[in-house]
Amino acid sequence: MRRWTVLGLAMCIALAGFLGVGHAQAPRVIRIGVVVSATGPAAALGIPVRNAFLLYEELFRDAIPGYRIQYIILDDATNPTLAVQNARKLIAEDRVVLIAGSTVSVSALAMVDVTGEAGVPQMAMGATQNIVHPVDEKRRWVFLLPQTAASAIQAVTLDMRLRGIRTVGYIGFNDVWGEEWWTSLSRAAPNLGIRVVANERYARADTSVTGQVLRLLAARPEAVLIGASGTPAVLPQRTLRERGYRGIIYHTHAIGDPDVLRVGGKDLEGALLPVGPVVVADQLPDNHPSKRPALEHKRIYESRYGPGSVSQFGAHVHDFWLIVRPALERALRRVSSDNLPAFRAALRDEIEATRNLPGAHGVFTYSPIDHLGHRFEYSNVFVQVQGGKLKLLRTFLPRQ
């Protein structure tokens, strides 16, 4: 009795296998590697990116006829060493045509050596300029998706000048992010006649910033810039308000997500920050080139992860898909995907050939000397926290 059951089961499985193979021509698989920091200190940035990739794979895996696009998503735990290992594994074992990631600057930068050496295009999601600039033998293979801190700081300093602010104090993370904002601020401010009067640092996990804030207050700045990201950015703002600071407080674009607004509550009220256009997709003027792609991403992402879940970070995946899909199609017309090195090189050329492509975070135009792709006017808008929501204050669109 038992033996018959087993035999029957085996026959069923075999039959199903035959039918499966014989039924249709199996699509050829195109593998794309993804490295994100989904755990560790920068998990807040990596998790929405991972979620978006999972969703986009599900929705668009068959978007190119005859091919099946498969994402292999690896976590680097906010650790550059692990990011490099992941990149090597994706290139050598999984034979991917392209790598997206990582979501943190240091990790993305560490991966450049590997992808550049192996000749695999990389779409980096860290926000520092030195990942792709200057374009050299290795960086030829790397393209940036997010706007850089330097471009966001330009938005901040422009706003400062419009408000007639002359002195500014700085408090930021004691890591790459805080340093990048400090460097950008101290470089940009003097040209606009703004004096930077204080430079303080704190750690993500700190439970108090009273010492730093007292020092800031002693310098009496008209405005304070907080170079932090995620919910830990709330602490300095709250302490400043508790100590009676009445001036203007600026933040980076790394706090424009719902969690920060929830934790910040009324402490964050009135804060000013630059964000990518996607964050305020509904409020964008109709002539903003990012309005349509931004709304589209918002619709796709929120249909799966709930209303209000869309953020700065997940939208990079939308731009990734907008850039990579046509590049893949063009490359496939030129080279067979079986010839991996040639196909990777063709894909790189086609990504570099992207011109005037409106995405959720601005308009992308890469060139052999520019792998940043963004133009300041399209990639940044300025918002204020009002009633626990982000309210669009101004765009930087060129006058027509």
Binding site: A205, T207, G211
Partner: protein, 337 residues
Amino acid sequence: MDATILGLLIADGITSGVIYGLLAITIVLVFTVTRVLFVPMGELLMYAPLTYALLVDHKLPGSVWLGAAFLAAWGVLDLLRGARRAPLLLFGGAGALLGAGIWAASTGSPILAWAMAVGVVVLMGVATYRVFFEPIPHASVLAYLILSLGLHFVLQGLGLVFFGPEQYRLPPLLPGEVQLGSVPLPKQNFAVYALALAWVLALYGFFSRSLYGKALLACAINRRGARLTGISTREAGRVAFTLASLISALGGMLLAPLTNAAYFMGFIPSLKGFVAAVLGGLVSYPLAAVGALLVGTLEAFSAFYASAYKEALVFAFLLPILFVQSLRTLEIGGGEE
């Protein structure tokens, strides 16, 4: 620097110091009784407010499942040892914990969530001892340390899964501020100070005056000797872990309104609590508390003068003290049996 800034810095130092102090006394407590340097204490401290935050938001946090799983694992271990009644009680307890969690999440009542958060953390603490440390009673201090470091990584990783990457803020129990001279202090601070002071005095009295406390201490100094005189070392360990996780849970609940809570915020305070505990020779509660205040104050002042080098300065100041301590520290738990 004027008097107001000085006052604010000192107040800030004391508040941070009290956090480290609470962790330091739990570390001393657990170490003196079981010779375990329990690094994940900081995670337990964070689990309590995070559990509360999710429960009042009508969500069932993963920590409740984890607590139930630990209890069930405890039951299985007892079953393997041939016990009859205890496993049934433990399995029942695991079920009851889950049920209580679902109930608390569905009502979203703050009082229920408070009790639930503290309860889950205490059960988790004592079950950690039963499941991971009790089965290896004769291991070296180093083996225990490695095990507890491993647990730290596991609990921190699970914390991310359970509570997400962002911070939560709890409403204060005592809203409002008190003006001390020119220094405004949140009333909540005093609740934390009172709790810490009460625990330090209670533990000091318990271990130096009461017979039960001395029995617990005996387990650390000489396990075999303690057992020969009729002290159960297993029970002693469980009592120590229960007390320590209760201190952590209550501390976490009182601190979260002042500092926010997140899964990744437990380790550094835990480390500083450990340093403070070493300043107290890993045996003395009052000295550990004083050490913690010293660490906190040093931190506040170095944050004011050179914030970029804060941690480096704090640990650099402490190195010479730790060096001297290491020369004259008691050989507790060093010699095996």
